[in-house]
């Protein structure tokens, strides 16, 4: 299989729920091993954009290519972490049970998981720093730990592309920084796409920002200006650039 030019390529993609257009003529490309933040106001279409990438939703117009294929064919090569909120926290599973679900599509079609699946799942748990808690029941874990279990589940399938929807939603700032360090490490070999509401910190973490509010624009985070983000959100938003943070001043 020849490697495709882009990890993700949208060409004139539009999507509407009933009559309400959520994504309008989006065209952009994400390079391999890019570190992408999808940012934008609530209801602006961030999650819709992700669902289009995964093939969960089909665009009414335009074409989407992921890892050189249709999203539907590529989805097993994507590691996906959904928002935690729709999952039952009381569900009777251990952390390892959940992470092993990331091996479906790789493991045998029926019967128990293989030893190689367990190794991969343990490795993924180790990468998010939860190897010690592998056998801990899910309901005994904190919100932040559960979040990391879901990230490990996304990693367990040894993906070429990692898509995380609001991975830092339940994390305190210190854990958040650790997580981004780990993701940067992973980013040396795979493409990482993150939906984030922490717009201010966008350029600290990401190489590229995809700004979504019906229209979709991509920017290198180095060039992203306060004005562009403010226009998108319809209110004053301050961007914090890495250089500014290091020198101790905020950009104005």
């Amino acid at each position: 299989m020849t490697e495709s030019e882009w990890a993700i390529k949208f060409d004139e993609v539009s999507f509407a729920y009933d009559r309400e257009t959520v994504v309008d003529g989006a065209s952009f490309s994400i390079a391999h091993r890019d570190f992408v933040g999808i940012i934008g106001p609530n209801g602006g279409g961030k999650s819709t954009l992700v669902k289009l990438m995964l093939g969960v939703l089909k665009p009414q117009k335009g074409t989407i290519e992921v890892l050189g294929h249709t999203p539907h064919r590529a989805c097993r090569r994507i590691g996906y972490m959904p928002q935690n909120s729709h999952l039952d926290p009381e569900f009777p599973v251990s952390a390892l049970d959940v992470v092993l679900m990331g091996r479906l599509g790789i493991t045998s079609a029926a019967g128990p998981y293989r030893p190689s699946d367990r190794q991969a799942a343990m490795h993924a748990l180790d990468e998010v720093g939860l190897a010690d808690l592998a056998n801990r029941p899910l309901r005994a874990l904190s919100g932040g730990q559960r979040q990391r279990v879901l990230i490990a589940r996304a990693l367990a399938g040894e993906p070429e592309l990692l898509i995380l929807d609001e991975p830092t939603a339940n994390l305190d700032p210190a854990v958040q920084d650790d997580l981004y360090d780990q993701l940067r490490e992973l980013n040396k070999t795979i493409t990482v796409v993150i939906v984030s509401h922490d717009v201010g910190f966008v350029s600290l973490y990401f190489k590229t920002a995809i700004c979504v509010s019906r229209k979709v624009h991509t920017h290198s985070t180095r060039d992203l200006t306060n004005q562009q983000v403010t226009d998108m959100y319809g209110r004053e938003v301050r961007l914090i650039h890495r250089d500014n943070l290091e020198t101790g001043k905020c950009c104005d």
Partner: protein, 285 residues
Amino acid sequence: MIEFVEAIGQNALLQNALLVGVIASVACGVMGSYVVARRISYIAGGIAHCTLGGMGIARYLNRVVGWAWLQPLHGAVLAAVIAAIIIGYVSLRARQREDTVISALWASGMAIGILFIARTPGYGEDLMSYLFGNILLVSTGDLYLVAALDVFVLVLGLVFYNRFLAVCYDAEFARLRGVNVEFYYLLLLSLVALTVVVLVTVVGLVLVIALLTLPAAISSHFMSRLWQVMLVAIVISMLSTVAGLALSYGPQLPPGATTIAICAGAYLITILGKKVVAPRKNVMN
């Protein structure tokens, strides 16, 4: 109790009843745990009540039309699986109308059953035994059918354990991993349907939901992985059915209702016990 122990040796019907209770508990523990974990006891309730339609029609064909080979339990199997697939399909396709459709099927299934039973001679006693079970009247033919269903449910329930677990926990993620979520969900509901039929012989269709869910609900208070919940639920279910038979035998109480009363009591004690223990646990956190 002593009468019960003495009777086991001589009474073939009682032996059948005990055997059915123990066999049924296995499927009950396994599938009940899926039902409780996925929170679909309402769906299981709908399926259970639809079996009356199948039993009523089968009994009509047997007695009035003269299809001697067709037993009410065969009709129950068919009706349960059809109901499972319709309800499953609706719950996959039309989430917002799910409860309405299940309620409609629930009542229509019963209505059809009652109409056919009314048109068949011998109205009263059979209807009562379908509704509330009569484990002491289980024929050897029923016993074989129950055993066969039990093995079938158990094998599929365990072979596809990982898939069922993933579909129950996070169907969207499972779909992205290439799992055919619709297929496994409908298969799971069909196995629940077969389990319901097995349990109808034990406690009757009105009480099925309690026997299906209470042992698993008690078990999931103590166990935190699904296979553990299943094992303990099987044990609780076996203890309840055997105790139900034993306690009801002497005073000639209905065994099905006695079994459910024991389950419900155990569940109540579990919840109250947790309430007493829980505050201490919170301090620890």
